[in-house]
Amino acid sequence: MVADIGTGLVAIGASIAITGSAIAAGIAEKSIGTAAVGAMAEKDELFGKGLILTVIPETLVIFGLVIAILILNLAAA
């Protein structure tokens, strides 16, 4: 398979969208997760709430993925 440089750039663009959002989500979840585990150590019932708060930034990656797909679609068009 021979790919021209344009295809490569599109692929890099899509991967940046995912990488950036994944790193951002990771950073956000790190601090929330720490706090949530701390709170759970004090009060067991907070597991549900802690879990939800922890996974909230995960949406960022999904947005990254959607953008990546849009980039790939635009390139294909």
Partner: protein, 619 residues
């Protein structure tokens, strides 16, 4: 199904003479959630008479259990009749025996640790071949006993300060570290200390052997023999303690259950209000069981007991018992994990019954993985009875994964079952755009369902005006933005003024309904919808991983037996990992979509559970 069990507030008023029998009956019925009386004009009751002795015995049984290291918790109530004196004397007997034996064990332990210290000191001193009395008690000599590095060099250093010393070198403790005994004239003590420090002098404590007389090499045998004797004796004591614990276990656990029950009943009056002659119990009872309770109390003490249903205000917090058909019951787990609904709130368990397996299925969506999950979850259900509720809901989720496996036409990532091509409704790995649209569409449906539920909740509680401003406003916003998007993409030509007015209207309604906060949260509804794209994303990741595993293993299947074995290993290992990920990811994300995207549209939570008197965790 959509609301928690209806509760009525009741009041029972009776004469003190009936107190005991009323407590007994309420405990048997297990339907009254007692509201604790807090002391006002009326005092709280005192525990029943027999309660004191029972509580005391219960405390002793529990401490005895700790002493004998019995960790088993009581499960069943004993059936046989209670003979208090017999139980008490039995507990006394075991207690005395256990105390005697543990005291003996402690004494032996102390002895053993002293003997061990003596033994190790003596074995170090033995190398010097000197009598014990020579190591201490000098008037003009300082004695250092300990370990140093390079004692030969030390000797030459010491010679520089005085010739009046004797350095005995004992055995080599570790490489280049020796035990030494240094006898040096008292006036040079400090100088010697300084030098010793440079050789990393670590003193040996000889205090454990100060009382002894004779040569260390002779004493050490005696000590060794004693040590052995003590250890055997300690082992014997320990064994007999284990034996005692084994013999007493059933008795203690059984009686703990019995006395915990008696103590619980005896302490019930602490929750009641009393006067000198009467008692009052307030509590909550499921509405449908009110007549049953009234009948029971009438049988118990006709005409002596007042039983009344009390008027309640709408806002009064009531205990919550979820009421759902057996199929939906497992999904109450997710409510308990999050927070029980308030009494007047819609209980969304029945909706989770549909959406949780649906989302899980779309994300896992593989016939093979679904079947394996189904088998494993059935197995886990036998192994961990405590997690039954969760596993029952996971069983349904696994079933849904199988169904979606047929929709996507996937069997362990392959698009065939042993050569038979699977019919495919939609291709997860190729038709990404279609999957994306379907996912977001599901999101739009669920979020609007949430808004409708929210509308009903607010309508019931705050009236129509609030309901429209707080919930319908979001829908107006959705329509406005939707029209804007449609006209922007040129599917329809709508004058721009229509969506603009709708959006403006929505913003005003939101401001009236939820204040500035509502306006700040304007974009969240769209991020929430996009969030459902994870249905597509996780499915894509799971399916792609399975395909990668298959491709990696596939290369090996053309070779000889060893290659094929490696291929099989890769298949098993890869699919196990992917299945574990396929449980964790879809489970968490399916749950998250409910909690974060769906619940925030209508759910408040914070209800407290209905715990009827008599239904204790332990019993």
């Amino acid at each position: 199904m959509f609301y928690p069990e209806a509760m009525s507030k009741i009041l029972i008023l009776g004469h003190q003479q009936d107190l005991k029998s009323v407590i007994e009956r309420l405990h048997e019925l297990k339907i009254v959630h007692i509201v604790e009386h807090s002391k006002n004009e009326l005092d709280i009751g005192t525990p029943l008479k027999e309660g004191e002795a029972a509580s005391e015995l219960l405390v002793r049984i529990r401490s005895l259990k700790t002493l004998l290291k019995i960790t088993e918790q009581p499960k069943k109530l004993p059936k046989d009749k209670l003979i208090f004196k017999k139980v008490k004397s039995n507990v006394d007997k075991i207690h005395a025996l256990a105390l005697k034996k543990t005291a003996k064990e402690k004494e032996l332990n102390d002895g053993i640790s002293l003997l061990e210290r003596q033994y190790s000191t003596l074995s170090e001193l033995a190398a010097f071949k000197l009598g014990l009395n020579l190591f201490y008690g000098y008037q003009n000599l300082a004695v250092f006993i300990g370990r140093v590095e390079k004692p030969e060099v030390l000797k030459t250093k010491l010679k520089n300060i005085t010739s009046e010393f004797e350095l005995k070198i004992g055995k080599e403790f570790k490489k280049n570290i020796f035990t030494i005994a240094l006898f040096i004239e008292l006036s040079k003590k400090e100088q010697a200390e300084n030098i010793l420090q440079k050789f990393k002098f670590a003193p040996i404590d000889i205090s454990p052997v100060k009382e002894m007389k004779g040569k260390p090499s002779d004493l050490i045998h005696e000590i060794g023999r004693k040590l052995k004797e003590c250890c055997t004796e300690r082992d014997n004591v320990r064994n007999s303690l284990t034996g005692l614990s084994g013999k007493a276990k059933n008795f203690l656990v059984k009686e703990e259950a019995r006395f915990a029950l008696i103590a619980e009943k005896a302490e019930a009056p602490l929750k009641f209000a009393v006067t000198s002659e009467t008692f009052i119990v307030k509590g909550w009872v499921p509405k449908k069981q009110i007549e049953e309770l009234r009948k029971e109390l009438n049988i118990l003490a006709k005409n002596r007991i007042v039983f009344e249903e009390m008027p309640t205000s709408d806002n009064e917090a009531r205990p919550v018992r979820l009421k759902n058909p057996a199929l939906v019951k497992p999904f109450e787990f997710f409510m308990e994990l999050y927070s029980l609904p308030k009494y007047y709130e819609i209980d969304p368990s029945a909706i989770l019954f549909i959406t949780f397996p649906l989302f899980f299925g779309i994300m896992l969506g593989d016939i093979g993985y679904g079947l394996v999950s189904l088998i494993l979850f059935t197995l886990f259900r036998k192994l961990f009875p405590g997690m039954k509720k969760l596993l029952n809901s996971m069983l349904l989720a696994a079933l849904s994964a199988i169904i979606f496996g047929f929709v996507f036409g996937e069997f362990f990532g392959a698009e065939q079952i042993f050569g038979y091509e699977l019919p495919v409704l939609i291709h997860r790995t190729h038709q990404i755009n279609e999957m994306l649209i379907i996912s977001v569409a599901i999101g739009i449906v669920q979020i609007n369902l949430g808004l409708i539920l929210g509308f009903i909740n607010v309508l019931r509680h705050h009236g129509i005006k609030h309901a429209i401003f707080e919930k319908i406003s979001w829908m107006v916003l959705e329509i406005g933005v939707g029209l804007l998007a449609v006209s922007y993409l040129k599917f329809l030509s709508i004058p721009i003024i229509v969506p603009s007015i709708l959006i403006l209207l929505a913003i005003i309604m939101l401001y009236l309904g939820e204040g500035v906060r509502g306006i700040l949260e304007l974009p969240t509804i769209f991020t929430n919808m996009l969030s459902y794209a994870r249905l597509m994303a996780l499915g894509l990741a799971s399916a792609s991983l399975a395909v990668v595993v298959n491709d990696m293993a596939g290369k090996f299947f053309n070779g000889n037996v060893v290659m094929i074995a490696i291929g099989v290993l890769i298949l098993v290992f890869g699919h196990t990992i992917n299945l574990l990920l396929g449980w964790l990811g879809p489970f968490l994300h399916s749950m998250r979509l409910q909690y974060v995207e769906f619940f925030t549209k209508f759910y408040e939570g914070g209800g407290y559970p209905y715990k009827p008197f008599g239904l204790n965790e332990g019993g």
